[in-house]
């Protein structure tokens, strides 16, 4: 009887049914990526995908794979610096299940894949400079318990990251301005922070009739530099050097310098131990004796590779905009420039735009130039 059933079962199928079925189909492995088919890539759609995954299945099968896939997509969705997105991802992990209940589980890494996944998530946060908060600690405690390795990582992050967060003496705002003009202004301000009397001016090249490039110029010059420029030897030419780069976190601003003559460094060769001829002690200005304010021999602007007389960043970084800059400097407070020769050492015409990482900014800037 059994053999008869088997025979009919085998006969009822066409002989090459199984092979045919596989021949006709795609052979490549298809993985389903819930993030891929999202038309709008932003924070709300990212959180929506996470919510969809959470609601799909009560067991949340494949949540580790889902979190890894989601971590890779963060940059594309623009949420890599968003604490809320990371919290939503941690929330995918089930609460209570991964907490070890005895010392052996605690010691031998209970649920290693899941713990490693959470550590990798925290590491990505660290790399992107996102500092977690106490709510995240509570979530992790509910998932992994106090002995969990992700908790150790969390506590380390909470110890170290705030220590280094505001360490820079030239602190930048959390979000850099999208506008290139504002960014250039910040950069020039930062460079010129050596001299507290500096004035940052924003000029428009439209003021100069002969200019071809109609753009903006951020120019930094202090009163000291103005007087240094006025004292420049007429026979020595000024040199416009550049382009140089300055990094404002991940944005690059190109700047140019106007360099004057090299002034000799003041050398004090007096022997301070020599007591044979002691000067009168200096008086107090306005009260005792007649004293002048002590002369400053060298300002910060006088360096051994030249005296820096002005610094600028222009919208186009082109030769023409630099020419306009010199003319604008002459117009606003540096009349001596009309008698001085200026050499441009721009090796090749710089790219038509400021070099920026963000393409959106570039487009924005081009519109401005038009």
């Amino acid at each position: 009887m059994a053999t008869k059933i088997l025979r009919t079962f085998l006969r009822s199928k066409p002989s090459n049914y199984i092979t045919k079925r596989y021949e006709s189909k795609e052979k490549s492995l298809i993985t389903y990526d819930p993030f891929w088919n999202k038309s709008k890539k932003d924070k709300s759609s990212y959180l929506e995908v996470i919510k969809m995954f959470e609601g799909r299945d009560i067991r949340r099968r494949g949540h580790v794979e889902f979190i890894y896939a989601a971590l890779k997509q963060m940059d594309e969705f623009g949420v890599k610096k968003d604490l809320e997105a990371y919290k939503a991802l941690i929330d995918v992990l089930p609460k209570g299940k991964f907490i070890p209940t005895n010392i052996f589980q605690a010691e031998f890494m209970h649920y290693p894949k899941q713990q490693q996944c959470a550590v990798d998530l925290l590491e990505q946060m660290e790399d992107n400079g996102v500092i977690p908060d106490t709510e995240m600690e509570q979530m992790l405690l509910n998932i992994f318990g106090r002995r969990g390795i992700p908790l150790r990582k969390f506590w380390r992050m909470m110890y170290w990251m705030p220590k280094f967060k505001n360490l820079s003496p030239w602190l930048l705002p959390e979000k850099l301005p999208d506008n290139t003009l504002d960014l250039a202004k910040m950069a020039i301000q930062r460079i010129m922070s050596v001299d507290p009397t500096v004035k940052i001016n924003i000029y428009q090249t439209e003021e100069i009739e002969a200019s071809i490039d109609k753009t903006w110029i951020v120019s930094g010059q202090s009163e000291t530099q103005k007087s240094l420029l006025a004292e420049q030897n007429q026979k020595q030419p000024l040199v416009v050097k550049g382009p140089f780069d300055v990094y404002m976190r991940d944005q690059v601003v190109t700047y140019f310098t106007l360099i004057g003559e090299i002034r000799p460094e003041h050398k004090d060769n007096r022997d301070i131990d020599d007591v044979s001829n002691i000067d009168n002690p200096p008086g107090i200005p306005g009260y005792i004796g007649s004293t002048a304010i002590p002369t400053i021999y060298n300002t910060v602007h006088e360096q051994d590779d030249g005296t820096i007389v002005a610094i600028c960043a222009t919208g186009t970084s082109s030769r023409d905009s630099l020419l306009s800059w010199i003319r604008l400097l002459e117009k606003y407070g540096n009349p001596s420039l009309s008698e001085l020769a200026v050499i441009f050492t721009l090796t090749s015409p710089s790219s038509s735009d400021m070099i920026t990482q963000d393409s959106q900014v570039t487009v924005d800037d081009e519109k401005r130039a038009e």
Binding site: R152, F164, S168, A187, R190, V194, F244, V246, Y255, Q303
Partner: protein, 211 residues
């Protein structure tokens, strides 16, 4: 002397630059960054190159992008290993001209056991950017203890009499060119700085920290 900087290296000639070795991840087939240490136009040491954060597709490397310069091991006669003795000082002084990036200062100390060979003390060198020189004074007590680049839970003070190498690294995850012009690296004793170690060293709970 108090408040006087003693120079360790003054980068004004090629022979000083030769005391340093530059390394980048491309040297080990672990990335695509390149770097070089040369005499600049202003006659100083110029540590420059390109940082590239692309990861080679070998399935092994997860992250890439570092360039570093490190002093060669100091030696006694007959090529025996020696160490710097910096016990008289408490502040590190660097005169640099950077490009706005932040760099990492690394000091390695000699240890006896092989697990201590990767122990390095780190601190950040922020640069202003621009044509002006900056003098950065960094208290040595602020250097953070790390092993293979990972900051350690149990922090310890540096053995200042056992310093073997000093290095500067660039690896701030921002791809692009970098330029760091160095005039000198020196040490100073600042009598007003009384801190011995900047990080907490109190006892913590068992089995959570340092395991």
């Amino acid at each position: 002397m108090l408040r006087e900087t003693d120079l360790l290296w003054c980068f004004n000639k090629q022979s000083v630059l030769d005391k340093f070795v530059t390394t980048s991840d491309s040297d080990h087939n672990e990335g695509f960054s390149t770097c070089n240490l040369e005499i600049s136009k202003a006659g100083r040491g110029l540590f420059h190159g390109t940082l590239d954060t692309r990861v080679p597709k070998d399935g092994r490397i997860k992250k890439a992008g570092y360039c570093s310069m490190r002093s060669q091991r100091i030696r006694k006669s007959f090529k025996r290993d020696a160490t710097y003795d910096w016990t008289l000082y408490n502040t590190m002084v660097l005169k640099v001209r950077g490009d706005g990036r932040s760099y990492l200062l690394n000091i390695s100390c000699e240890g006896y056991h092989d697990i201590t060979w990767n122990d390095i003390y780190h601190y950040v060198l922020f640069t202003r950017g621009g044509p002006y020189w900056q003098i950065s004074k960094i208290p040595i007590s602020k250097f953070v203890f790390g092993s293979k680049g990972r900051l350690q839970d149990k922090q310890t003070r540096m053995r200042l009499d056992k310093v073997t190498h000093f290095g500067i690294a660039c690896g701030d995850k921002i791809p692009g060119k970098f330029n760091l012009e160095i005039e000198y690296i020196g040490l100073e004793f600042d009598p007003n700085h009384e801190e011995e170690f900047a990080y907490e060293m109190y006892k913590t709970e068992k089995y959570i920290v340092g395991v």
